[in-house]
């Protein structure tokens, strides 16, 4: 599996994400935001967490219009895989690859702690290593993780089984407790929690490992 991790000014989870991919056996290339092309034959693009462009204007808005993001959108439109975590999720909603938007947390506070998530679908390459209804513990660290979609779009996400993860105890006001969603073709996942920060015993938890392993299993055989 070949993975590319995008680096924006202000990204701070890019190396953690690269390590998580590498541990799962992927070849990882770091790609600077001013690059216009992804490395050839990339299977999956990781859009990492952080504070790209200082969260100026809106979280993810400037990054979504950076040169490399055009290539990320094309990659997704060709059926390529994309994983956006935290700021990466915000960027993917800003590009339109994923529906909805992330607003300021309902309690207005930046929240940094490990939360319990429920796996809502195992029918994606990202989540096939989990079982539906499984409870996992993954850290969150965000100020703008309050997911919004309108009622019609929410109904569509539910009907199509595109909600990947829900919060067991909603920390930020997200509509329908949503912590992560996938695209219509199920190959683009955006989530606020950080599976790459639960990928080593030293992290205090390893519930994120299954995501990177199942991606490896699915994409290595593709």
């Amino acid at each position: 599996m070949k993975a590319a991790v995008i680096v924006f000014p202000g990204s701070n989870c890019d190396r953690d994400m690269a390590v998580a991919f590498e541990r799962a056996g992927a070849d990882v290339t770091m790609v600077w935001h001013k690059d216009t092309a992804l490395p050839q034959d990339v299977d999956i693009v990781g859009v990492p967490g952080g504070f790209s462009f200082g969260d100026y204007l809106r979280c993810g808005a400037i990054a979504a219009n950076s040169p490399i993001c055009q290539s990320v959108v094309s990659h997704a439109e060709r059926g390529g895989y994309v994983l956006g975590i935290c700021n990466g999720f915000q960027i993917l909603t800003e590009t339109g690859l994923l529906p909805g938007a992330l607003r300021r947390n309902a309690g207005l506070k930046y929240i940094c702690r490990t939360v319990e998530l429920t796996v809502e679908t195992a029918d994606t390459a990202f989540t096939s290593g989990y079982s539906v209804g499984q409870s996992i513990h993954i850290p969150i660290a965000h100020h703008d993780g309050n997911y919004f979609v309108d009622d019609a779009k929410l109904a569509q996400l539910q009907d199509e089984g595109r909600i990947a993860f829900k919060y067991a105890d909603n920390p930020n006001g997200s509509v329908a407790d949503i912590a992560g969603v996938v695209s219509k073709n199920r190959r683009v996942l955006g989530m606020m929690p950080h599976p790459e920060r639960a990928a080593d015993e030293g992290h205090g938890g390893t519930d994120g490992v299954a995501m990177f392993r199942s991606l490896m299993d699915q994409l290595a055989t593709a």
Binding site: G100, A101, R103, A106, N146
Partner: protein
């Protein structure tokens, strides 16, 4: 010429910052504040001859996220 763009959360989208301001006003003794919405004002210095439709395009592409925000453009000559 200048243009001013007002970006607000759409009606129906909860504005937690506006709510916090409303509470703060209440605790300062300002009664009767029934709602507060907080938005952004963006001022643009534009070359002469720029059109409102260009500014609208800027709003659609970058300045506002139309999933949750509405915008209004004011040209100021």
């Amino acid at each position: 010429m200048k243009a001013r763009v007002y970006v607000m959360l759409k009606n129906g989208v909860l504005d937690p910052q506006g709510e916090a301001v409303r509470h703060a006003l209440g605790s300062l003794g300002f009664d009767g504040v029934e709602g507060v919405r907080q938005g952004k004002v963006i001022e643009l210095d534009l070359a002469e001859g720029s059109t409102e439709s260009t500014v609208t395009e800027m709003c659609e592409k970058l300045l506002a996220n139309t999933v949750i925000e509405s915008y209004r453009v004011e040209l100021m000559g």
